[in-house]
């Protein structure tokens, strides 16, 4: 899967869960502080990412995902390692 596809699908999932303006999304934006996710939203986002890409994301990995860029990079690595589809 191309990196651009991964970015697009991650961003689509973030927009779907957090209902934020897609045009305002940037790699260094923080999920909680900048995009307004509360703890329940963060749990939901992980579920939605698992659903979008298949497989599962551990709690430890989930906690390390602070920004949009972190998520894109993590999903990219996981797809490469075939941990996610």
């Amino acid at each position: 899967m191309a990196d651009a596809d991964i970015s697009k699908r991650v961003e689509k999932t973030i927009v779907e869960v957090l209902k934020v303006d897609p045009s305002a999304l940037g790699g260094d934006q923080r999920i909680r502080e900048d995009l307004g996710a509360d703890s329940l939203d963060s749990v939901t986002l992980v579920m939605a990412l698992e659903d979008e890409f298949g497989g599962s994301i551990s709690d430890t990995d989930a906690k390390s995902l602070a920004t949009v860029g972190d998520i894109i990079a993590f999903i990219g690595r996981s797809v490469q390692e075939k941990a996610l589809a």
């Binding site: 209902k19 939901t44 599962s56």
Partner: protein, 438 residues
């Protein structure tokens, strides 16, 4: 304080015969019954005596207003509740505005939120989610040790962080309360097959007493787990219809009945309003809810008291609560499950109290038995029968067990006053009396 009058102004319904109130009503009048063989994969776990049920039609949740994210968070029973409520509110002509796009919440235009209640019934709440998460929980640690992975039962890909809110029965009333910002009393009733009727009755009382001005009332159920576990529960209790031919097996009040046809799920929700405020906003009223009563057999957890004494007491109390006598009742939407004992007792009580005057039908003969959803569905059917002055037939009734005025053909009929009654595992009895409006 005088008791305030209560009217039904909106109806939402999902059942094995249709995914909206109008679809269900058309199917009922046309005698289009639901039924199917049970899923073949359930035979992996056990061989059940009954092999038929009433499956829901395929549902495109997203198209009906439940997002992909919500589908991950909610049990099917909760989604059915939301969809039936959404339809009932639209049908009542009550507009909504968005409160929070992220949370997918709305506010009703008009009613004061603190004076709006939600009263929902369910038999088992989110049992399907419970079983799925329990299976994931039980097998995750050992699944890699099982050489043949095809032996594993199907399970959700994760232990869902929303497992608890998905399985808790009170989600049935909480979900509509949250989605439409209704902040008055919010109650879920769990009187099994009578739960929806109890919920409608309590909504009626809450409006009549002045506690609230508007109430969402009804019930929902979903028992279609991927293992057939809930089906097995009813099968093991020897309550289900026998034979392989679903088209003829579901036959309440017939001499050849063998049990009920379990429905995969269903929901019926009414918008109930104080009559004067409904009239002020120009709402159409399907029917007036005029009386309610409930009581308890105190006899057996799984069997009706054969004497029918408390059922008869309860029906008389409901009729009196509506300011009527049994002679005033024109139409009885019976509990009518199709089990040997229930139909025998219910028909005897009807004969004793009403004789052969009122027309009688059993909605379950067409929809199957939607358990906690059935009371809401049957209240909806009763209100529609009053509004349209017509009702559906008792499907498959060929040789009635008693000489009552069973509806043999759908069509016009004069109904001024009607009763819908339900009896439940546990021994709960409840009935709602409705009257024609205008």
């Amino acid at each position: 304080m005088n008791r305030r009058r209560v009217v039904v102004t909106g109806i939402g319904m999902i059942s094995p015969v249709g995914l909206s109130a109008s679809e269900c009503w058309s199917a009922l009048l046309a005698g289009r019954a639901a039924g199917a063989p049970i899923p073949a994969e359930w035979s992996r776990y056990t061989v059940t005596t009954s092999k038929i049920w009433a499956a829901l039609p395929p549902i495109n949740w997203e198209a009906m207003g439940i997002s992909r994210i919500e589908q991950m968070q909610l049990d099917v029973s909760g989604m059915l509740t939301i969809l039936a409520t959404q339809e009932a509110l639209q049908d009542a002509g009550i507009g909504t505005s968005v409160v929070d796009a992220k949370k997918h919440t709305f506010r009703l235009e008009g009613p004061e939120p603190n004076r709006c209640g939600v009263f929902m019934g369910t038999g088992v709440g989110g049992v399907s989610s419970c079983l799925g998460n329990f299976t994931n929980h039980s097998f995750t640690a050992v699944r890699h040790a099982i050489a043949d992975q095809s032996l594993l039962p199907p399970m959700p890909p994760r232990f869902n962080p929303y497992a608890v809110p998905a399985m808790m029965p009170n989600a049935m009333s909480a979900l509509p309360g949250i989605r439409w910002s209704l902040r008055g009393p919010n109650l879920t009733f769990a009187q099994a097959c009578a739960a929806g009727t109890v919920a409608v009755g309590h909504a009626f009382r809450s409006i009549a007493s002045g506690e609230v001005d508007l109430a969402l009332a009804g019930g929902a159920e979903y028992v279609g787990d991927p293992y057939g576990g809930m089906f097995r529960g009813f099968d093991a209790a020897r309550t289900l219809a026998a034979g392989a031919d679903w088209a003829t097996a579901n036959r309440p009040f017939d001499r050849d009945r063998t049990g009920f046809l379990l429905a995969e799920g269903g929901a019926g929700v009414l918008v109930c309003e104080e009559a004067e405020s409904a009239q002020r906003r120009g709402a159409r009223a399907y029917a007036e809810i005029a009386g309610y009563a409930e009581n308890f057999d105190g006899y057996s957890i799984m069997m009706m008291d054969p004497s029918g004494t408390r059922i008869a007491d309860m029906i008389v109390a409901a009729v009196q609560d509506a300011g009527c006598t049994p002679g005033d009742i024109d139409y009885i939407n019976a509990h009518g499950t199709g089990t040997a004992l229930n139909d025998e007792i219910e028909s005897a009580v009807i004969e004793r109290l009403f004789g052969a005057k009122p027309i009688v039908n059993a909605t379950k003969s067409l929809t199957g038995h939607c358990i906690g959803g059935s009371g809401g569905i049957e209240a909806a059917v009763t209100a529609l029968s009053l509004a349209h002055q017509s009702t559906h037939a008792c499907h498959n009734l060929e040789n009635p067990i008693r000489d009552l005025r069973f509806v043999r053909e759908a069509g016009p009929c004069r109904i001024d006053t009607a009763i819908t009654q339900s009896f439940a595992f546990g021994g709960h009895n409840a009935a709602v009396v409705m009257k024609k409006v205008g």
